[in-house]
């Protein structure tokens, strides 16, 4: 197996026009961009479209990226902008109708035994506010520092940890009743 080229190397190659290199970046960060889009738009089909849109935009704007090492946070900013623009536009069109949740929602009277851990988390996330959803998506992505997350979300660096703590508190509340399922599915 040959080693995967470094991100900054791929970015440099993509910058000089290599779609092959950019394709690799899209592959590498596909889950991240899709996850962020999904958690902002709360619609799986839409998240797919928005992810495509994000990568196409990123490729066309790549020449404006000065530091290749900040590619990931730069890409997240584009994904976020793209998804938020869509959501805002959609809200105007749908006048408050929350178009959601291909992801099935479970309630307390609905026995959640069949839900997988990731689905339980996904459902709980979808019940949180937009800022919390974004924060909880980005803060746990290992390639992003909390400072970078703060920059992407316009949260002062010193406050990111507190915001995260509060978001986790709210998430924990939405997970009431699912404790055993979550604990059973680890390890």
């Amino acid at each position: 197996m040959t080693a995967e080229p470094a991100v900054s190397e791929l970015v440099e190659r993509a910058k000089s026009g290599s779609r092959e290199a950019f394709g690799r970046l899209a592959e590498r960060y596909g889950d991240l961009v899709y996850g962020l889009s999904l958690r902002i738009a709360r619609d799986t089909d839409m998240a797919e479209d928005l992810s495509q849109e994000t990568f196409v935009k990123a490729f066309s704007k790549l020449h404006t990226l000065r530091k290749p090492e900040s590619f990931v946070s730069w890409l997240c900013s584009i994904a976020r902008r793209t998804a938020l623009d869509h959501v805002r536009k959609g809200k105007r069109e749908l006048t408050g109708l929350d178009r959601t949740l291909e992801i099935e929602t479970a309630t307390e009277d609905d026995p959640p035994a069949h839900l997988t851990g990731s689905k339980i988390i996904e459902n709980a996330l979808m019940k949180l506010g937009e800022r919390d959803r974004e924060l909880l998506t980005l803060a746990y992505y290992e390639e992003l520092s909390l400072a970078e997350v703060g920059k992407i979300l316009d949260i002062p660096e010193g406050n990111v940890r507190v915001y995260l703590y509060r978001a986790r508190q709210r998430l924990r509340k939405k997970l009431k009743g699912f404790e055993d399922d979550l604990l059973q599915q680890i390890g």
Partner: protein
């Protein structure tokens, strides 16, 4: 007992929100409290799930590639390629027009080769990219033919 009054500290502990003395104090409590241990285990499981993130559909990568192909003209250096192709075309035309002046006894292989060059040139020209270079090529070739006519044959 089903709850501990201090289990709300678990998340603060996990996210690094406790001051050093609070932290030490809580760790001491944690060591002896099954409920807080369980809560910590749960919060760690949640962190793990969050770190797993969402999984994009496998087709996304392909869709992105397709979109990039559709949305952008290749950044391939077409201009310099056109320049080179133009020169090749000019030379090809020059050679073919010279070949027409050659007596019929000329080597058949050369003729066949020239025909191939001519054919390739025609297909290149049909792509339309080389329009301007084609004109240059024709002009050059015409000039060459003229010169060839002027130069007396041996």
């Amino acid at each position: 007992m089903t709850s501990c009054s201090r289990s709300d500290k678990v998340l603060a502990y996990l996210t690094g929100m406790l001051k050093p003395e609070e932290r030490a104090d809580f760790e001491e409590h944690l060591a002896g409290c099954r409920l807080c241990q369980r809560e910590l285990e749960l919060e760690r499981a949640i962190s793990g799930r969050l770190a797993d993130g969402a999984e994009a559909p496998a087709r996304l990568r392909l869709q992105v590639r397709k979109r990039l192909l559709l949305a952008y003209k290749p950044t391939f250096p077409w201009k310099s390629l056109a320049g080179i192709a133009g020169m090749v075309a000019a030379v090809a035309l020059l050679v073919t027009s010279l070949a027409r002046l050659l007596p019929p006894s000329t080597d058949r292989q050369l003729e066949a080769m020239l025909r191939i060059v001519q054919r390739n040139f025609a297909s290149l020209a049909s792509t339309g990219i080389l329009g301007s270079w084609l004109l240059v090529g024709i002009a050059l070739a015409g000039l060459a033919t003229l010169i060839a006519r002027v130069i007396p044959e041996d």
